[in-house]
């Protein structure tokens, strides 16, 4: 079965510092991969999605970026974090059949 490993689980960073969240996929190849962010008590907001290596689509303009250097690796980055970047970040993988699999999530607090 497909699984996603996402890390780190918890991160506390000062404003202006860089960010790197990573997720890796096991058990399947060529998945669609997504980064979502969720503010407290709110629904999920799509940040980036990727249909293959090096292919990134951005849904929301912001100071975040994403990269997919390998088929099973998806990275969310920022050069300089803002206070508003705080939240819960979730990596999702999707198959064309509609099956979804989730990372464990990363809670980012920017101080």
């Amino acid at each position: 079965s497909q699984t996603i490993h996402q890390w780190p689980a918890t991160l506390v960073q000062p404003v202006g510092s860089p960010l790197s969240l990573e997720c890796t996929v096991e058990g399947t190849s060529n998945p669609n991969l997504y980064w979502y962010r969720q503010a407290a008590g709110r629904g999920l907001q799509l940040l980036f999605y990727s249909v293959g290596i090096g292919q990134i689509s951005s849904e929301v303009p912001q100071n975040l970026s994403a990269s997919r250097p390998q088929d099973r690796q998806f990275i969310l980055s920022s050069k300089k974090l803002l206070l508003s970047d705080s939240g819960f970040y979730l990596c999702l993988g999707g198959r064309f059949s509609g099956e979804l699999f989730f990372g464990e999530g990363s809670r980012l607090t920017v101080l």
């Binding site: 669609n32 799509l46 509609g98 809670r107």
Partner: protein, 112 residues
């Protein structure tokens, strides 16, 4: 821009009452999923509906997919405090790519 409007955004009711959460869109979905999420954790899949008009039951939860596959509802009968959480709907569209559109979520509180 494809949207999935979920309502209500917030609902607080007494234990034993019934409630319904709605997700509506102008888009036609290949499938629609309902999730429940606890604070600090990822969403947990409750059900996937695929066929227009489909009704699925999960104990006291009843899920319905609209005939045109543009809307869905979640009905909870005799709500219990354990039902408290964030409920999310997500519609999947398969064309040349695979798109997943999320509702904004319904924060449900069941008071004992």
């Amino acid at each position: 821009t494809q949207l999935l409007e979920q309502s209500p955004q917030f609902l607080s009711i007494q234990e034993g009452e019934n409630l319904t959460v709605y997700c509506n869109s102008s888009s036609v979905f290949s499938s629609l999923q309902w999730y429940r999420q606890e604070p600090g954790e990822g969403p947990v899949l409750l059900v996937t509906v695929v066929t227009g008009g489909e009704v699925k039951k999960l104990k006291r939860l009843t899920f319905q997919f609209g005939d045109a596959r543009k809307d869905s509802s979640l009905h909870i009968t005799a709500a219990q405090p354990g039902d408290t959480g964030l409920y999310l709907c997500a519609g999947a569209i398969y064309d040349s790519n695979y798109q997943l559109i999320w509702g904004a979520g319904t924060k449900l509180i069941i008071k004992p």
